[in-house]
Structures are given as structure tokens and as C-alpha cells.
Amino acid sequence: MKKAFVTLGFALGLPAILVVLWWIATTVSPSFFVPTPGELIVTFVETWFGPRLWVDILPSIARFGIGVVIAIVAGILLGMLVGLNRDLRAFTEPVFEFFRALPPPVLIPVLLLLFGPTDWMKVFIIVLAAIWPVLLNTIEGVRAADPVQTETSRSYGISGLNRVRYQVLPSAAPQILAGVRQSLPIGLILMVISEMFSSSSGLGFSIIQFQRRFAIPEMWSGILVLGLIGFAVAAVFRYVERRILRWYHGLKELENAA
């Protein structure tokens, strides 16, 4: 019981202190640029829990979700294909190296030109940005498959798709998920700025509108929404990763303890 209170204290202590400081600072010397905590909460509820939820927030999240899922699935499939074939790896390496290094936001003007400001173009941008970490990590994870595991598979006649399913994919999973972890924030960045660059709705668009109209509390509430989405995405990822890689974390813990 006492332990639970201590844990809770540690979790809420610093955030509470920060909020109090913020409240004191904005109350003592009100600033045009920073709303008080109370103002922010009121604005947050008023702004986002209405039609904007359906017009701005959910479509943005949907585009992000679809884009990221396509990127992950395509990245893993393509990565398996390339990673298992040495020549294909050599063939694609410089090209992939270039696209990985290309800062994805520069693709926005290009795709805008080619496809116009549609929903699918925004999804496509998220896919094009988020696929590289997954793809390259999958290639590396597959390439680094343990030779003893591979021989074990062969000696038991486990080959082709079964080998991919039972040996290659699970053994590359830690690396693949490390790639997914890198690609999620990139997908989120592209979700926001594709809407800022060319859109008439969406979170990114609304936040920029608020800023242009000097609707400061609304702007801050938008930043808060994005923060909450980022936090939620990270939490979901952590949960999924813990589940998929339970064996891996257990193994690492044991190794570190030794």
C-alpha cells in the first residue's frame, strides 16, 4: 500500500510541481503568449470536443494509422525479400541508402505536384517517410540470422515460407520493432506537416490557423492534442512490443544479470 503511494508520488510529483509553477507564473504576470492552466483546459475542451473531433482529429489519426500500417507491412515484406537475397541486397543498397537519408518533408511538394492535395497523397507521404527505418532494419535483422538456427531449420526440413514464419521473422523481430519505433514519430511528423503545407482540415491545418489568427489558447490546446496523440502512440507501441518480444526482454534481462 505504502509502496503504491510512493510510486504514485514519484509519477505525479514533478508534473504537479511544473503545473503549479506555470500557474503561479501566468497568474502573477499574465502573458499574451502563454495561457493559464485553467484557461488552457477550458479551451482544450471547448475547441476539440465538438465538431473538430470528427473533422480534424479523427481523420488525421486515420491517415496516420493507415499510412503507418502500410509502411510497416510493406517494409517487413520488402525487407524479407531483399534481406534473404545477397544480390538483391547489393542491388538495392545505394538506392535505399539515399531514400533513407532524404529528409521526408521534401517529398511533400513533389507528391503534391504529382497527385494533388488528396487524402491518399497524405497517406502516401506518411508511407514513404515511415517505411525506411522498418525496411532497413528488417533487411539487417534477416541478414544477421544466426547460422546455427538456420542449420537447425535446414536439418529439420524447415524451408521456404515455413522457415520465414518460424525462424527468420521471429529472430529478426527485435530489430524490426526497433525500426517501427523509429518510424512512428516520423509518420506523426509527416501527418502534421502534410496538413500544414496543403490542407483545409486536419490537426496541422487547424493549429496553424489558430496561430495565424493569434488564437493563442486554442493554439496551445492544439499542441496539447498532438502531445497526447504522440503519448498514446508511444504507449500503444510499448504495449505491443512488450507482448511480441516478451521472450527477448526476458532473455536480455537474464544476460544482463549474469
Partner: protein, 287 residues
Amino acid sequence: MLHDTPVPIDTVSHGRTLPAEETLLSVRNLKKVYSTDGGDIEAVRDLTFDLGKNELTCLVGPSGSGKTTLLKCIAGLLAPTSGEVVLDGKVVTAPPKKMAVVFQEYGRSLFPWLRVADNVELPLKNAGVPKARRTELVEEALANVGLDHVPRSYPWQLSGGMQQRVAIARAIAYQPEVLLMDEPFAAVDAQTRADLEDLVRKVRKTLGLSVLFVTHDIDESVYLGERVIMLSSSPTVVQEDLVVDLPEERDQLETRSMPRFTELRHHVYEQIQLAKRGFRPDVAATK
């Protein structure tokens, strides 16, 4: 390469051959040369021997005698340069269904993402064995190696000896006719090792398997085997093929204290020392 004179094949340095009906596995004039940029490495020169049905044969040789190469050729994991391996009348070109391998590196050979029972089950699942039969075979195999209490554990949660038991269970659940073991106990402590040795003998007896057991441990080879094939140093030929005429029931204390055990051990030891010093039966025969 002064001594590279042709060696009369079939006169020396071959192991015992058996009549076809008693033979399960035959190795005929097996040769393996690795070709690399830095030149060819001749690992195995010329090996011929037969493995009888329901027989436990140990292969022993000095470090660097191409034991692992030979085993991989037999397992169908490596293609021989010339010669052939025949299992049940069929030439081995790929890992055969009737064969299972237990590797030395148990930690890497078991899949860490699968629980013990799932590891044992995987080859059966891959082979399309129906679920009910699979469960039965897995339970049986785990009981046979004394691990029926940990099916839900992950292999890495177990000790080294227990992990190797899981690998053995996986092999026997696959229902092979031949079990190949590549220095399986090289990485476990002495006490566990003795237990595992007895386990191998017990399992072989209950299941009626043929076992080819590769080791560099002379004691182990004499204690376990009904036959010990000694290998020369690389490029490998058979140094000697010895029948171990110890009673069938082996016991860690009793067997090891028998005068005959000491004699055999002594003999094998001498041969291995000879091999280490570079004595080669094929070269000796031409002199």
C-alpha cells in the same frame, strides 16, 4: 607436396563395412574440399564406414580432424566433394527425414522465442503431423528426457544441461532412425555430462535408434559407444575402427572402473596421440 603420391584406396584406412541388410547408413569414399580464394582446404580426404542398425557409434578425433565437416556431410547440410552418404539405400543430398541432428550450441540451436514444448513441436508442425499426434509425441519425448515438468518454460530459463535435453527431445520427437550428435556435451559441466551420457544410452535403447556421436572426449567415446571410429588429423581418414566389447549395461562407476575400460581407453588415447603427432595410416601404408 612431396608425399602426394597416390594412395591405394580400399586397402587401408577404412572403417568396417557391413552387409547391406545390417547397414543403416554407409559413408563411401567421402571427400570434402573447401574451395576458397586463399586456396583449397582439404578437410576430409577419404572416409568409408558403415553404421549398423540400432548401433551407437562414437566418432573421436583430435581437434581439427574435420569431425564437424564429416557430420554435416552425413546430415545433408553440406555437399561432399566426392563420395557419397547412403541412408537406407538412398543417397543423401539434402537433410533426410529419417535423421535428426543435435548440435553442440544448444543455446543457439533452440529457438529462444518458442517455449520448450513449442520447440519440440516445431519440426512436427512443419512436417504436417496432425495436432493430436503432435501433442502426444511432444509429451512422450519430454518424458523420455525427464523434462515433462517444464513445457511452458522458455529454453533460456533452463540450465545448459536441461537445454541440451530439450534439443534431444526435439530430435527424438521427430522420430528419426539415425540421431547425429555433434559434441553435444562439450559445453556442460562434468556431473550433468555423466547424466546426459546415461540419458543417451537409455533413449537409444528404449527407442531403438542408431546414434552417431561425435566427441573429442576419449573417456566419453569408450563409455558410450559400442564402436569407436578414430579419425586421423585433417585431411581426415579413418585411423582405426574399434569394437567396444564392454557389457551392454553401462554404469558410470562400475563400467569406468573395469580393467577392460581402462585398456580400451588407453588404446584410443594412444591412437589419438599418434594422430595428433601427424601419423597417418594412408601415408604409413605407402612407405
